[in-house]
């Protein structure tokens, strides 16, 4: 029986989907997490506690564990642990992406350098320290531009500035986000930098792919029907199949593969965010992971195979018999947080669930929990899923279901 180590942070949205897929494959699963599991002593060899911030110590712990419980694959369910997964795999002699390549996907400044060097279209970028004089920087950059932290994801801290005044406000706001102790702990020196890049006008798509020996298989291309023009870049609807022309889709796929090659990624899942300026694709992000949140539930392949199953099959060198997405259109809406405060009530879930083509409405934030919108926040209120005959049906259904939901947020 194959043994897979899943690196799952306690804040992961994807615990259940990865575990379900692993069990379906009959794999022997070990879950490594950042907090000790309550039943670790009762079921020895099934869970492991790692300090995800201390990479070298975590590698040593897993290497020692693997002497007693050998491993065939190491998979990170979330973005924050992809570097650790590569380091553990390297230490155990398991197939993996080069560690430097995976690190490059985690730090936007390095990513921009590698893509530019390889002549892959990507926004022109500058990197500044949070202590640099704002007035001088504001004079130096061209407008409109986009400011973003180096190491944060999910559009957290990403702000567009059209003028010097907006730039200064955005810079100060991001500096404040980066001063959060948790953010500093995670980013270390990267938490002292801000990337400023040119704004690429146009629509945006997300590509979900799987790399095998450096060759990229596109699993799905999502259109993002809501314009992402700032000032904040909140993700809302993802819908697939893309309605872009086959020629443009091919250009996007080629561009994404070139980006992976430039970074040095060779194996495993890839999630790329790409903007289209006219018909020219610009790579905004490339991550060595699959789509975030529980958005993967919108994807089904062959007879109903999940994205997680494909990822695990690839990691465990098991045959993948279906990488063709189903014929239906499908989509997800990440429900944005409209205001900060405390979530006191959620209404309309049943009504939203009954909208034609809607397959599910999942609220992730509990009542009485604090909610913080972008750019400071990083969570969504929940997810709405739809499946239908056309992308238009799906998008209409998602919007209608969203309108049926009512969130009461009490300001503090």
């Amino acid at each position: 029986m194959s043994r897979v180590l899943l690196l799952i942070p306690t804040i992961s949205y994807r615990t259940s989907d990865f575990l379900t897929a692993a069990y379906k494959l009959g794999a022997d699963v070990i879950v490594a997490s950042n907090e000790r599991q309550t039943l670790e002593d009762i079921a020895k060899g099934h869970t492991l506690t790692l300090d995800f911030q201390n990479l070298n110590e975590s590698v040593d712990t897993v290497v020692s564990f693997a002497k007693e419980f050998p491993l065939d694959a190491v998979v990170s369910t979330d973005e924050d642990q992809v570097v650790l997964a590569a380091m553990i795999s390297a230490a155990l002699g398991l197939p993996h992406n080069p560690i430097a390549s995976v690190k490059a996907t985690r730090y936007k400044d390095i990513l921009r350098i590698l893509l530019t060097k390889a002549h892959v279209a990507t926004p022109m970028a500058y990197c500044f320290s949070v202590t640099d004089p704002i007035e001088k920087i504001a004079q130096k950059v061209t407008y409109p531009c986009v400011l973003k932290p180096i190491h944060l994801s999910a559009s957290r801290g990403v702000i567009r500035a059209n003028t010097k005044e907006e730039f200064k406000d955005a810079f100060i706001r991001i500096t404040k986000i980066l001063s959060d102790p948790e953010v500093r702990k995670m980013g270390k020196v990267s938490a002292e930098k801000i990337l400023v890049e040119s704004f690429i006008a146009g629509s945006e798509v997300a590509l979900e792919g799987l790399l095998k020996a450096g060759s990229l298989a596109v699993l799905s291309l999502f259109d993002k029907p809501d314009p992402l023009n700032g000032p904040f870049f909140e993700e809302t609807i993802y819908v697939t199949p893309s309605q872009l022309s086959p020629i443009i889709q091919e250009k996007i796929a080629v561009c994404a593969e070139q980006a992976c090659r430039a970074i040095g990624l060779k194996e495993g899942p890839v999630h790329a965010e790409i903007r289209l300026n006219g018909d020219v694709p610009y790579v905004i992000e490339v991550a060595a992971r699959s789509i975030g949140g529980i958005c993967s539930r919108t994807l089904r392949f062959g007879l109903g195979v999940s994205l997680e199953e494909i990822i695990l099959r690839h990691a465990l060198k098991m045959p993948i018999d279906a990488m063709k997405r189903e014929d239906f259109a499908s989509g997800v809406m990440m429900i944005p947080i409209p205001a900060s405060g405390t979530l006191s009530n959620v209404e309309g879930v049943s009504e939203a669930s009954k909208v034609a083509y809607i397959e599910g409405v999942t609220i992730m934030i509990r009542r009485k929990q604090k909610v913080i919108p972008l750019p400071e926040g990083r969570r969504y209120l929940g997810f709405i899923f739809a499946r239908g005959n056309s992308p238009d049906d799906v998008v209409s259904a998602l919007r209608k279901a969203h309108r049926a939901l009512r969130f009461t947020i009490v300001a503090e």
């Binding site: 615990t15 599991q37 309550t38 018999d321």
Partner: protein, 204 residues
């Protein structure tokens, strides 16, 4: 008896032909299940010709070869595989008349908590599992044992917890199966959406 509806057969045959076009001959489909009640998930996957497992049970249903693992053959023996295409749902659908939701069990079928298996499971819960998960404010109750499946319910810090599936699959299932080898699976009946005080919350 396993049933494959006409529309499901048509869809399966189309997908099999797609695979054949790519050079892979498929022998049939495999049915497995996983997850937790009330959202128990059934999965379908192709079985490539020549890659059948030695201990598979194979049933021909409407001309489609359906493979199930020997240990699950009893539990899956009456599943109905359909393909739904409606405004609310599209895709393959597997119904299993052997799965009885706990809410509907109670009036017609009293819980079986006095069998040797149930008593042994309760002892494991009382002496090992619950004392351990109480540190997170969690508690697990045994609701029933039917056809070698233990039905449990999580509450307190476990209900809605982002790591509840880890506790279940990597701890509870392991401990129960080790202590009571007759048990083939443990199914969680908890409505995690209603958990008000989960120990771990996704995204936070």
């Amino acid at each position: 008896m396993i049933e494959v509806t006409e529309i499901a057969k048509k869809k399966i045959m189309t997908l099999m032909r797609d695979q054949e076009d790519q050079g892979t001959i498929m022998e049939g489909i495999r049915v497995t299940y996983s997850g937790m009640l009330p959202t128990l998930e059934y999965r379908l996957a192709f079985v490539e010709a020549g890659k059948e497992e030695a201990h598979d049970v194979v049933v021909s249903a409407n001309g489609i070869k359906v493979f199930v693992e020997e240990r699950n053959a009893g539990f899956l023996s009456d599943v109905r595989i359909d393909f739904i295409e409606s405004l609310q749902q599209t895709g393959f659908k597997v119904d299993n008349p052997k799965v009885v939701m706990p809410a509907t069990v109670a009036p017609t079928s009293p819980a079986n908590l006095n069998s040797p298996e149930a008593i042994a499971i309760k002892q494991i819960l009382d002496t090992e599992i619950n004392p351990a998960i109480s540190s997170h404010g969690g508690y697990i109750s045994l609701l029933d044992v039917k056809e070698q499946i233990a039905y449990i319910q999580m509450s307190g810090g476990c209900q809605g917890c982002g790591m509840a599936d880890v506790t279940l699959k990597q701890g509870v299932v392991v401990a129960i199966k080790k202590a009571v080898p007759e048990i083939i699976d443990v199914l969680d009946t908890t409505d995690h959406g209603k958990g008000n005080n989960p120990y771990f919350t996704p995204g936070k």
